[in-house]
Amino acid sequence: MKKSFTGKVWKLGDDIDTDIIIPTQFLALESVEAMKKYAFHPLRPELAGLIQPGDIIVAGKNFGCGSSREQAPEIIAALKVSCVIAKSYARIFYRNAFNNGLLLLENNALYDCCNEGDQVAVQLAESRVFLGDKAFPVASIPEDLLQMVEAGGLVPFMRKKNGK
């Protein structure tokens, strides 16, 4: 996958929970494509319509807390954001995100330095993200996890590996 990319920042706060990412009443819709326009609906109903492929979500602590509903990372992945950069993540969401091809990066300081609309540059090879000249370290993501993200998640990755 691309090891360096730049994206426009959409900023969300602390404790962005799975009911905000995709409220219960939209889970019955037939597809992730149908659900994705309701992403973040309780907080910012207009947001899903504004997010463009390649944009970056920057958030505070405990992103993805709450239920194990996998539609949450799935619809963020379906919005084609290039990654989420949060101060920290909830555990179940973290696994679900990589399993669904959504790249998560963690940095404690970026959130407080950037504004919505800023451009952030991600350099995966050096495990850093940049806001202008200022660099912020992110934990390095193992190569096989990056390959899983590139394949679109765990199932496509396993199928690719198994040649199916």
Partner: protein, 418 residues
């Protein structure tokens, strides 16, 4: 160096003598469970993407329809049908309309020392019986249903030493809200919350499940309580005799140890829109409510229903208020009927619903409208959780919810205990 109960359970699950926090293990699961929140998605992945033919062991996979039951739309009915057909085809135990999945698991499956993985975040409830329960998403679940295995990181453990006894009108529910408020919604992320100390022996199985079930609201991987005679007797009384009894070593290593005296706890309310945003009920002022709910995997068991009945007996729900009650399982429902609790509820003006996730899940029953306020014994008060995005949910004990239903505003249950 000793091990905690959580580490011992994970060591057994991966066939090792010992494990250490931070170590990644490949563990065999004793049971896996999925409910209608996501099972239709698991089945799609299993059949269409993995081309799976068999589940790893039909006796170790459980399907439970509890989130949207009875179905509120043809789409939901379709999802249930898919689940029912799959369960029949693969000869998997299948429950539909028999209660909230975690209560059914506790009644019919869980024994101390098991590793249980389920596609639901509140799976940590099984720690009330000394089993390591943890939630996963549907991709992980499908792979586990196929292989019976998964990778897990061995978590650090936080220990909560409990002393003393609750005062009247205060419950395990208040204690766990207080703890989550103190450590924060990410205060235990990736970790085990182990509840221990001299007060445990006086806590009922229901109390223990209440504590462990909410561990995920502090971000925990699991909640755990060492099984004692009470837990062992409960499991045996349910006809299950094979169990794996582990206890934390005296020199086990904890990341942090907290101590709580139960006598210091007061009735707690979690304020919209986060579970860790708490206040003592006497300090929140005048909060008018539109609807009250008693039920869910956290707080819909017989003991909570008894407390609610004690408060509601001979009284009426406040004008313009709705009180909805959903027993956590068919068994709890039957017990409540036998004890005359359902009569008390209905006479008070409450609506008694079938055993399901109900209002807590905000999907099929008792959703609230714009600007409305709910007080609930459910697990979460996230924005929009119970219906309209601009509505509010307060969380409290069954006693506080029942007391509030009588007055129409959030009310301290002490002094209203009948």
């Amino acid at each position: 160096m000793g091990m905690t109960i959580g580490e011992k359970i994970l060591a057994r699950a991966c066939g090792k003598e010992s494990v250490r926090p931070g170590e990644i293990i490949n563990a065999k699961v004793d049971l896996c469970m999925s409910n209608d929140g996501t099972t239709h998605l698991n089945i799609d992945i299993f059949e269409n993407q993995l081309h799976g033919e068999k589940v790893f062991d039909p006796e170790k996979v459980v399907f439970i329809v509890d989130h949207n039951i009875p179905a509120e739309s043809p789409k939901t009915a379709e999802a249930h049908k898919k689940m029912r057909n799959f369960a029949q085809k693969h000869q998997i135990p299948f429950y539909e309309g028999a209660g909230v999945c975690h209560q059914i698991m506790i009644e019919d499956y869980v024994v101390p020392g098991q590793l249980i993985v389920a596609a639901d975040s509140h799976t940590c409830a099984y720690g009330g019986l000394g089993a390591f329960g943890t939630g996963v998403g549907c991709t992980d679940f499908t792979s586990i249903m196929h292989s019976g295995e998964t990778w897990l990181m061995v978590p650090e453990t936080l220990k909560f030493v409990l002393e003393g006894e609750f005062k009247e009108g205060v419950y395990a529910r208040d204690l766990i809200l207080k703890i989550i408020g103190d450590i924060g919604a990410n205060g235990a992320t990736y970790k085990v919350m182990e509840f221990a100390g001299p007060a445990i022996k006086n806590l009922t199985i229901d109390d223990r499940v209440v504590l462990c079930n909410m561990a995920v609201e502090a971000g925990a991987k699991s909640g755990l309580i060492e099984p004692d005679e009470r837990a062992i007797n409960y499991v045996k009384s349910r006809g299950r005799h094979e169990m794996f009894l582990f206890q934390s070593d005296e020199d086990a290593v904890y990341e942090k140890i907290y101590t709580y005296n139960l006598a210091d706890i007061e009735p707690i309310v979690a304020i919209p829109h986060n579970v860790d945003h708490i206040a003592v009920v006497t300090e929140i002022g005048d909060v008018k409510i539109d609807q009250a709910f008693i039920g869910s995997c956290n707080n819909g068991r017989i003991e909570e229903l008894r407390v609610a009945a004690q408060i509601l007996q001979g009284k009426k729900v406040a004008p313009y208020m709705k009180l909805l009650i959903s027993p956590a399982s068919k068994e709890v429902y039957l017990q409540a009927l036998t004890e005359g609790l359902v009569d008390i509820f209905v006479e008070s003006g409450a609506m008694v619903l079938n055993a399901n996730c109900s209002v807590c899940w905000g999907g099929c029953q008792g959703v609230i409208g714009e600007g409305e306020t709910l007080i609930s014994t459910g697990t979460r008060n996230f924005k929009g959780r119970a219906g309209h995005p601009n509505s509010s949910v307060y969380l409290a004990s069954a006693a506080t919810v029942a007391a509030s239903a009588l007055t129409g505003k959030i009310t301290d249950p002490r002094g209203m205990m009948g």
